[in-house]
Amino acid sequence: MSKEGRETAIGHLDADCFYVSAERVRDAFLNDKPVGVLGNQGACVIAKSYEMKGLGVKTGEPIWEAMVKCPEGIYIKRDFRWYEVLSRMMLDLMRDASRRVEYYSIDEFFFRAEVGRGETFEGLARSLRDRIQECVGVPVTVGIARSRTLAKLISDASKPHGARAVLDAAGEERLLADLPVTEITGIAGRRAERLSAWGITTCLHLARADRALVRRLLTASGEALWWEINGDPVQAINCRRPAHKTLSRGGSLGEATDDPTLLYAWLVRNVERLIEELRYHRVAAGRLKLVVLYKTGHSAVGQRTLALPSDRFDVLLDAARPCLRQAWARGATATHMHLIAEDLAPPGQAALAYFDPPDRRLRAEAVARVKERINGKVGRFAVRSAATLYLPAIYADAANAYDICDVRDKMCF
């Protein structure tokens, strides 16, 4: 109960097959047809409609396997810029409806649910679901419960287009009894195996298990889940994302390569993208780590500590070059590259003159400002390092200019 005499609970809103629904918002032709959204390489299904899911296609499945299961499926290229537009519209509507909203992921929100006299949580869930559908055009499912974990379990169990509130112990028990413990976010693989050895296979088993045992098996984070599924909210709704401990950019190289010129071009691209992120969060990198994954399955790491934290292109590239030399395996075909900024600190908090000649610093900062201004006005990557010219196909494809990690301020990937 809130101070104003209103009843409070925690809600979870999750868009139904969001990427497909987003495509359908702008292209009604896709309605009721089996649709799969492919990743940027065109190889994997990253989202599928319920029609496609019904035929057994799974997220992450290669297209050549999906085609066999669903020969009539229509495949679409992802467009994260568009998905973000709709995601922000949903976020705005949620903020109109609740005083505390967490932007959990591009298609999921936690919120504080409040109802006054004569209102019900079930009615609130229904009205939110219908409002998002009406204003954004995306079907969503809403679950309301006593804790975040329960709310998410309810919405997951009520998909698609569901609206359900479960706030009584008997209702919770019925829900938990039917769900495997792996339905809880944070319990999978090894954690589930550890619980299974003690006969804990459903959510209800976990709720009824001894708290000390759960802590021993799953540490403090597991114990938090135990409290949560017993209706004690111990995980807060975070209206703002906590500061990042690290920032990274990278991913698949598209076409695997053993060409050092191309690897260097990818490194420069990742440095430029990382700098955008550092500047957005107003932090500087104290340490760079480069991870390169090879087709053989092995990976190599190169790392370097900077003399002082920086967000400058020249300084970071000087540090990144030896990282690539360290991580590069001659003749081996690389498939992925990740550049990670660690030891993040506010920029400009060191005795600069000792390490960084002022004329060089001022020139580099002026160049960075011009680059930022032009790219902000004309378009991302309009001005970029000439080293990236070795990747013409990557820059020619607009879909590569915006990735899921570029959707900012959400809590998780």
């Binding site: 309605n31 009721d32 940027n40 065109g42 085609m67 679409i76």
Partner: protein
């Protein structure tokens, strides 16, 4: 139009909506084209070698069109309306249509060729095809 061109056997249903499939592998490959503001259904390529002088395929490279190879035999550019494409079994969405050319064979019968370009990395991975149709104002 369906009756005039005998398209009934090409009708299919997907998601409750009817669609007409023009497949190159059909025994009588046909394709719709917009020409002079009129929608026509014409022969698609020369895969069955009805013509002795047209290339025995249903495709032509954009570079070949630009080099003027087709100009001397009276080819005109046309648009092929399409909502979906199918390449090696993969269906993909087409927003407007595909570029094509229309050329008369030695008997004056209109034959359409689809204009193609080398596949983008995405298209090649998706379909495993080295060439892709040249889409109208669309890049995939």
């Amino acid at each position: 139009m369906i009756g005039r061109h005998g398209l009934e056997r090409r009708l299919h249903e997907r998601g409750g909506e009817r669609e007409v499939r023009f497949l190159y592998r059909d025994r009588r490959p046909r394709i719709p084209v917009w020409r002079d503001g009129r929608l026509q259904v014409v022969r698609w390529g020369n895969g069955r070698r009805q013509s002795r002088f047209l290339p025995a395929t249903g495709w032509t490279w954009q570079a070949t069109v630009e080099q003027g190879y087709w100009r001397n035999i009276g080819a005109v550019r046309v648009e092929i309306p399409a909502t979906l494409g199918c390449d090696r079994g993969v269906w993909f969405r087409i927003r407007q249509g595909i570029r094509g050319i229309l050329v008369p064979d030695e008997r004056g019968i209109a034959v359409a060729y689809m204009v193609c370009v080398p596949s983008t990395h995405y298209y090649q991975v998706m379909t495993r095809s080295p060439r892709m149709p040249l889409l109208i104002d669309e890049h995939i």
